[in-house]
């Protein structure tokens, strides 16, 4: 097991190295520069002074070496170019912790409700509860997040005035983002759990269990659910890392000061250090959560052996 983990961490580092390098050269190859957010052309000398100050006058490979040296020796991702004076690392941590609040709650709510609905649908296959759940699931997958967010904001904040339109700091600010963010998760899990359960229920060992006279409840609890949940773990990888990286659209609409904002805006602003920072952060989270899930898999499912 220890050997497995060490090996995986080694792979993780290689993956991250490749991600950083590829991102670095890709972002420098797109036209434009970090002065672009000033939305105008500045005189040549002003531009040159700015370039020199931030080391952008050096060649890309030279900039890459400096960046890598700082990253490896000090774990330093540098300072944002768009927001002078702010460390990329600080921004990532502060904003990720904000994103994680609605994100984490939405994931919990989404998974709980999604699994419950999935079970209900599977047990009532081709009867009305199944149809209702699948209808909700289709809505959840097809209705774009921004539509749901805007509609909820309009009715609950503008018409009924029970919740604030935007802002951050009170529990009221979290309610709408959680509802909106969990909707898709509910839909995904409901469908996934349902189809996995149906799959498992058709297996021979279920028939065996039933033939042995195990009660329906116990068959479901001990055999069906346990086996049906395992594939759901794979889904979790993306979602757990997703709660920290936030959602651009939901955060924008409800004014949540999370990390989602930086994923889109840093690219538009050509905020090089922030682009790298956000990418490394997302990649690191993803591979880390994947490792945890892989370990969990091997512990929960004896069919999967760690080699």
């Amino acid at each position: 097991m220890a050997k497995f983990i060490v090996k995986r961490i080694g792979y993780m580092l290689v993956t991250l190295f490749i991600v950083v390098t590829a991102t670095f050269f890709l972002m420098h190859s797109i036209p434009g520069d970090p002065l672009a957010h000033m939305a105008r052309n500045l005189p040549e000398q002003t531009r040159a002074n700015y370039y020199e100050k931030y080391g952008l006058d050096k060649s890309t490979s030279e900039q890459y070496l400096i960046f890598m040296k700082n990253l490896v020796s000090k774990g330093d991702l540098g300072e944002s170019l768009r927001y002078p004076g702010r460390e990329v690392t600080d921004t990532l941590l502060t904003n990720a912790s904000v994103s994680a609040q609605p994100g984490g709650m939405a994931l919990l709510v989404g998974i709980t409700i999604g699994i419950l609905l999935g079970i209900v649908a599977a047990l009532n296959k081709n009867r009305w509860p199944d149809y209702i759940v699948m209808f909700i699931a289709i809505l959840g997958i097809t209705v774009p997040v921004f539509v749901l967010a805007s509609v909820l904001q309009y009715f609950l904040s503008v018409k009924l005035m029970v919740l604030p339109t935007t802002g951050w700091g009170s529990w009221k600010n979290v309610v709408l983002p959680v509802i909106v963010l969990s909707f898709g998760t509910i839909a995904t899990y409901a469908r996934y759990v349902k189809s996995n359960m149906l799959d498992v229920m058709g297996q021979d060992y279920i028939l065996t269990a039933e033939a042995k006279g195990v009660s329906k409840f116990n068959v479901i609890k001990s055999h069906v659910l346990k086996n049906a949940f395992l594939p759901c773990m794979t889904l979790l990888v993306g979602q757990v890392s997703g709660i920290f990286t936030g959602s651009f659209v939901v955060e924008k609409i409800f004014g949540v000061p999370g990390l989602g904002f930086y994923y889109i805006n840093s690219i538009n602003d050509r905020d090089y250090t922030m682009i790298i920072g956000t990418t490394v952060f997302a990649a690191a989270l993803f591979v880390f959560v994947q490792l945890i899930v892989d370990i969990a898999y091997s512990m929960m499912d004896p069919r999967i052996r760690v080699k």
Partner: protein, 558 residues
């Protein structure tokens, strides 16, 4: 029972609103006695469209930081609104005086305090001005003052040290600025960010992080920042140490940072914010019907325009450029594309800019394109130009690449409109080229374009800010590649002319040359800003170039 209650409430409301009306007459225009309305808390809720990049006036260049800077720091002077007219008043400077030939300006610094208790001195202003020009600081604001202050450009270029700059601290209360040459509109620059005070000790103590967090900042304006939650909210409170605190009525200003425009409108609709600018017609219509919302239309000193690459084979020809410029039906564009939010522009110097005491420039000078449009026909000019270039007489053989600086749905609709119109009027083909802003900027700077679309907003309140963009020296700003000696000469003369009327005349002549001999730009619309505020917010500025921020605003009758 219920009915009676409603009736009683209505009656009470009427009495209250009458009382509020009564108060308006004596409190409103004088801007003085707003505080007498004891009931309403003096709190203003407004919004910013995005997080300011920094609150450091040296590094910050966006308008969001500027909105905060204006309210929390004291520039040398401010452009103040009084009964619809603008007037320059002393702010950080109590008074100022030029020498005889207008090259040395002496500012008497007012007694004022920083929020940490220290006195405001001439050195704070000198440091702000000098540091902005210091190449080490890499400030994007150096272009404001570099051409005017003695040795400014040389300092920016790194040719001489900052000690050589024409900024001198005579004593704690006296600041002396020497100019390269007499600059009649120099005072218009004294309230730009390049002339804001910066405390050297604080800026040096925090170094690169100065301006990025609240605890690295000190204030000396009407308000000070109380809290700053990044990407969420900035709260200002009244600065009790401010020299003019008796004229500041608001106790608190809340800037919510709302990046989504629909969320902003929803916030206004629900009353969470008191002011909102509105860019979409459907929301304008909706707020127009809102009972207690007041609509304010502001002339924006900003132009939306196309520009031509004079080094391009086709657009090297003046007649072709004129043809493309005259072919635009500006009335139709304003109506179809902008639903009359913006106005047709037959000029380059936009509305909302004034020439010193003479007031609004556009009221004194007719738009040059208006006359041209009456005298010449776009199609004839095109054919003439084609003949000169030996391109035959079939416009449909011409294809022009039209570069846009956005990839949004709006840009696509706009592009199609342009395509259709040029096809209808000139018979030429337009190929659309959509770019992200950064890509667009790079392409146009490298001259890899034929015709492109852009917006430009003025930097300071004088026509010079707009018209000087096309001198040979400044041609990098809007890279059309055009250069004209006669034009340069008018601008050079205007930059020295101390007489406002003569200077206006020189601007008018330069603008004439720009269109008659250059036509390297094709103005489309002059921007307007429509904003709404609830009627209990009083004394908001009505002009875009005013630099008092929320200093004189108050709440009454809420």
């Amino acid at each position: 029972m219920k009915k009676k209650l409603v009736a009683a409430l209505l009656a009470a409301a009427m009495v209250l609103s009458l009382a509020a009306c009564g108060g308006k007459g004596d409190g409103g225009s004088s801007g003085g006695s707003g505080g007498s309305d004891g009931g309403a808390p003096q709190e203003l809720h407004t919004s910013l469209n995005t997080e300011p990049s920094t609150l450091d006036t040296i590094k910050g260049n966006d308008m969001y930081g500027w909105d905060i800077n204006k309210n929390t720091l004291e520039p040398l002077t401010r452009l103040v609104e009084k009964d619809g007219e603008q007037e320059r008043e002393g702010a950080g400077a109590e008074s100022w005086e030029p020498n005889e030939d207008g090259t040395v300006w002496t500012f008497k610094i007012r007694d004022n305090k920083w929020s940490d208790g220290k006195d405001v001195t001439a050195a704070d202003y000198a440091y702000g001005i000098t540091r902005t020009l210091d190449p080490d600081a890499g400030s994007p604001n150096s272009f404001f003052t570099a051409p005017y202050i003695k040795n400014g450009q040389k300092v920016v270029n790194g040719e001489v040290g900052v000690e050589e700059l024409g900024v001198k601290v005579v004593d704690d209360k006296t600041l002396e600025i020497t100019l390269e040459s007499p600059t009649p509109y120099f005072m218009s620059i004294t309230d730009t960010r390049a002339c804001y005070p910066v405390r050297q000790d604080i800026a040096e103590k925090y170094g690169e992080t100065y301006g990025s967090e609240l605890d690295t900042l000190v204030f000396n304006g009407p308000f000070k920042v109380e809290s700053w939650t990044h990407n969420s909210e900035i709260v200002l409170v009244k600065n009790e140490d401010y020299w003019d605190k008796d004229n500041v009525k608001l106790d608190k200003i809340n800037f919510a940072i709302v990046t989504d425009s629909n969320a902003k409108y929803n916030s206004f609709e629900s009353g969470a914010i008191d002011i909102s600018s509105v860019g979409e017609q459907e929301w304008v219509d909706r707020f127009d019907k809102k009972e207690n919302a007041v609509r304010v239309d502001t002339k924006q000193p900003a132009m939306r325009f196309d520009f031509f690459n004079v080094n391009d084979k086709l657009f090297a020809n003046l007649n072709i450029r004129k043809a493309f410029t005259l072919a635009v039906d500006r009335e139709d564009m304003a109506k179809t594309i902008y639903q009359d939010l913006h106005v047709p522009a037959y000029w380059w110097v936009p509305e909302g800019i004034s020439t010193g005491e003479n007031g609004e420039y556009r009221e004194q000078v007719e738009g040059p394109l208006e006359k041209m449009a009456k005298e010449e026909k776009a199609k004839d000019l095109l054919l003439k130009g084609m003949e000169e270039l030996n391109l035959g007489s079939d416009p449909s053989k011409i294809t022009v690449k039209y570069s846009l600086s956005a990839t949004t749905q709006w840009a696509r609709n706009y592009g199609e409109y342009v395509q259709q119109k040029y096809k209808d009027i000139l018979g030429v083909n337009i190929e659309l080229d959509f770019n992200e802003w950064s890509t667009f900027q790079q392409k146009t700077n490298n001259g890899e374009f034929q015709m492109a679309n852009m917006v430009w907003t003025t930097d300071y309140d004088d026509p010079m800010s707009m018209i000087s963009l096309f001198t040979t020296e400044n041609s990098g700003n809007i890279p059309t590649g055009w250069s004209n000696e006669k034009f340069d000469d008018f601008i050079a003369q205007a930059s020295r002319e101390m007489d406002e009327t003569k200077r206006t005349e020189l601007y008018a002549q330069a603008e004439q040359v720009l269109f008659e001999e250059g036509c390297n730009i094709c103005p489309l619309v002059n921007e307007r800003k429509i904003s709404f505020n609830y009627d209990y917010v009083k004394n908001l500025n009505e002009r875009e170039t005013t630099t008092t921020g929320f200093k004189y605003v108050y709440i009454e009758g809420k």
